[in-house]
């Protein structure tokens, strides 16, 4: 056994002394130095192989021609190719049969949720509640649908949009501006507003409401129905319930009768493929209001 050399108790210092404090001049560990040199060497290799030095327009491209953008494109193409079998299955399955196939439904709902977040949440809200009550953006969670809540209805709405001139099949609804265009007198509007308050179960003036029933019958019932239950065929919302697209207070209803509202929605045929439209339809359908 070789005994280690007697160590000096007096290590070498740099020779500097500040207020009697000296600095050791110990050598760097050799492994550390080697790693340091290796890193420098590696950086040179890296400059040659990969994009590295920033130039005036872009960076040096490196001999490997690597680009993270190209990588992402390949990954997106791979993901699309991997999903193609699911898209095919989605397109070949009857719309109402999708929910009967748990595997397919899970794919559709997840794919649809992604589409919804990217394309629909700006107006309908990330939670699909139409941002807030009375915002004018329909709440997709509740059980009232202006244009119907079956899978077929939802897919048609998403495909062509609402009040969209790009598509002849887009859904259109018209409501006259009864006040602005002087189709009804202010008294008649007062009466019909109170009638609507009455049929939706809110506080109202009974005398005005009774008179309003006739005004409603003549001017509103053709679209909203005699009892105010709406008509999804023409996109007329139900007025005899607790759900209001533009608010249900007396002032809100008066504003709507005076000026009417015309919400629009883009058709997504140009932005999404048919399978994605079906997927987002399946997602919306299972949010709680699907029929």
């Amino acid at each position: 056994m070789a005994t280690p050399k007697k160590k000096s108790n007096d290590p070498k210092t740099t020779g500097h002394s500040w207020d009697g404090i000296e600095e050791f001049d110990n050598p760097l560990p050799r492994w550390w130095l080697w790693v340091f040199y290796l890193c420098i060497l590696w950086s040179v290799v890296y400059w040659v192989l990969y994009p590295a030095w920033p130039m005036v327009s872009g960076a040096t491209s490196g001999v490997l021609g690597y680009s993270s953008r190209a990588d992402v494109e390949v990954e997106i193409a791979d993901a699309d190719a991997a999903n193609q079998v699911w898209y095919d299955r989605l397109m070949s399955t009857d719309l109402d049969a999708i929910s009967a196939d748990p595997e397919l439904e899970r794919f559709a709902v997840n794919a649809g949720a992604a589409v919804f977040r990217a394309q629909c949440s700006q107006c309908h809200g990330a939670g699909a509640d139409g941002l807030r009550a009375g915002s004018g953006f329909p709440n997709l969670l509740d059980d009232e649908w202006m244009w119907g809540g079956t899978m077929d209805d939802i897919v048609t709405t998403v495909t062509y949009g609402i009040r969209n001139e790009d598509f002849p099949d887009a859904r259109y609804s018209e409501m006259p501006s009864f006040g602005r265009d002087e189709l009804l007198t202010p008294e008649e509007i007062d009466q019909v507003v109170n009638h609507v308050l009455a049929i939706s179960g809110q506080a109202h003036d009974a005398a005005l409401a009774a008179a309003g029933a006739e005004v409603f019958d003549l001017n509103c019932a053709s679209c909203h129905g005699a009892d105010g239950s709406g008509d999804t065929f023409v996109g007329a919302p139900a007025l005899n319930n607790a759900i209001w697209l533009y608010g249900g207070s007396e002032a809100d209803i008066r504003a709507t009768v005076n000026n009417a509202h015309f919400g629009i929605m883009p058709g997504f045929t140009n932005r999404l493929n048919p399978a994605q439209i079906r997927a987002v339809g399946a997602y919306v359908h299972q949010l709680g209001g699907g029929q």
Binding site: D10, N139, G288
Partner: protein, 475 residues
């Protein structure tokens, strides 16, 4: 002075160690323990345990893919990971207990680094011969014999390493299937990668790094110093009996001479390459081989055994004063170790109780907060919840969901008619559930009200609940 000396070198080159073969009680104990440890390690993944058709039949299985841990009759789900945490706490306190009572008994007998190094030294000795032959081979220049012997040794080491890494992967998937896949080169690359990595580390750690892992790499020797006290058993040299050391001459009885004949037997057998006569030191893993070596020499020269032996620091002062050392049992059973044992056993009992009390159904409920509530056409208020239902049972079962104590709130399940949900065997189901409060009821009007959802299994008495809140219109 320092100015004339060489600069101090911070790097000490490793001195190769060639431990000599030794026979004795501790060596025998170590052989048995090595057999036991390696046996447990290699055999465990091959033990079968029938859990029914839908479940794996491997007794010990860490199924990372489906996030299950199987240990004989126990199955741990991810949400029950506190069992594993509890076992780790027990392992930690167990190490405290053993260290404060028996010193570095883990290092000397049970640590994988020690066991595999012992195995590698056994192979080395078998191929190259005992200490002197190995020293000779080490010093001789490279030639046919040296190449042949080293190649044989390395090949055997590699095979042991391969078996080590190979056994490890069997803990993570069905062992017979994986063995077949490995042999037909159709196993997952991760399996091959893991085996390659562990083969390499075993080969390097057991063959070349050896004692350096303990001295430089392992934090445990440092922690252990804080665990030990003056009653902890360590291996010590009785220098008051052995010194002054020196050669004994036959027939000459020198009264000034100690019992140590400086034969270096204790140094030559040491796998850590230290001299125990220098006193207690960090590198000593208390494997006991020097005790065997010294006892053998003492027997031969007709002196009493235990010149080197297990003792505590208090024994040293007692023996120097001429009194008898305390018995081993008195060292082991002292308040500190009793406290450790009680804590250790307490955690163990708590785990066992938790294990027997747990139900094989579990649920958690989280309200959907975007939006908090939806007003339906008839004025009622609906809240949505994400419920996780866990069926920790080997067969599919039907879970029945109800709301407690509030007739005005009704429960519906998305995509399901009625209130029964089927959950597959050993599966978790994430289910969207709606609670609807009729228009004008307290829950529909108030901003928030507490609700409790009960889950029971058809035909069974166990039932569990989750508490959450119901968001009303708050008007």
């Amino acid at each position: 002075m320092s100015t004339t000396e060489e600069p101090e070198q911070l790097y000490a080159k490793r001195e190769p160690i060639f431990p000599r073969r030794v026979k004795g009680n501790f060596r025998t104990l170590k052989w048995w323990l090595m057999g036991l440890m390696l046996g447990i390690y290699y055999i465990t993944p091959w033990i079968r345990w029938d859990r029914g058709p839908a479940m794996p039949d491997q007794a010990v299985l860490v199924d990372l893919g489906s996030r299950r841990f199987f240990f004989f009759m126990v199955e741990i789900w991810p949400h029950e990971f506190y069992f594993v945490a509890g076992l780790l706490i027990m392992a930690g306190i167990g190490l405290f207990l053993f260290t404060s009572a028996l010193g570095r008994v883990w290092c000397g007998y049970a640590c994988p680094q020690t066991v595999w190094t012992d195995l590698y030294i056994l192979v080395e000795r078998w191929v190259e011969g005992d200490r002197n032959a190995r020293l000779r081979l080490h010093r001789q220049p490279w030639g046919a014999e040296k190449i042949r012997k080293n190649a044989t040794k390395w090949l055997l080491w590699l095979l042991i390493g391969l078996a080590t890494g190979g056994a490890w992967v069997f803990y993570f998937t069905d062992a017979p299937t994986l063995l077949h896949d490995l042999a037909t080169f159709s196993a997952h690359p991760v399996a091959y990668g893991t085996i390659a990595f562990l083969t390499t580390t075993t080969f390097l750690f057991g063959g070349f790094f050896r004692e350096q892992v303990c001295i430089y790499g392992c934090p445990w020797p440092r922690i252990q110093a804080a665990m030990m006290d003056e009653d902890t058993l360590t291996i010590s040299y009785r220098d008051w009996r052995g010194e002054p050391r020196g050669k004994h001459h036959k027939g000459v009885e020198d009264t000034r001479q100690g019992d140590c004949i400086d034969c270096m037997a204790c140094v030559n057998v040491c796998p850590m390459g230290i001299d125990i006569r220098d006193g207690q030191q960090l590198a000593c893993i208390t494997c006991g081989l020097c005790i065997d070596a010294c006892n053998d020499v003492m027997d031969r020269i007709g002196k009493p055994r235990e010149l080197i032996g297990y003792m505590a620091l208090t024994d040293e002062t007692r023996e120097r004063a001429g009194s008898a050392p305390k018995s081993i049992w008195k060292h082991v059973f002292r308040p500190r170790t009793v406290v450790y044992t009680v804590i250790w056993a307490g955690v163990g009992v708590a785990l066992l109780v938790a294990l027997f009390l747990r139900t094989d159904i579990d649920m958690s409920i989280a309200p959907v907060r975007n939006p908090t509530h939806v007003v339906l056409a008839n004025g009622s208020v609906r809240n949505a919840y994400d419920i996780r239902l866990r069926n920790m049972y080997a067969e599919p079962r039907q879970f029945y969901l109800t709301v407690a104590n509030d007739a005005s709130i009704s429960l519906t399940i998305e995509g399901v008619q009625g209130q029964l949900v089927t959950v597959g065997p050993d599966e978790q189901l994430n289910q969207r559930v709606y609670l609807t409060a009729a228009a004008g009821t307290p829950a529909a009007v108030a901003a928030t009200s507490p609700v409790r959802v009960w889950v029971s299994v058809t035909g069974e008495t166990d039932r569990i609940y989750g508490d959450t809140v119901f968001n009303g219109r708050g008007e």
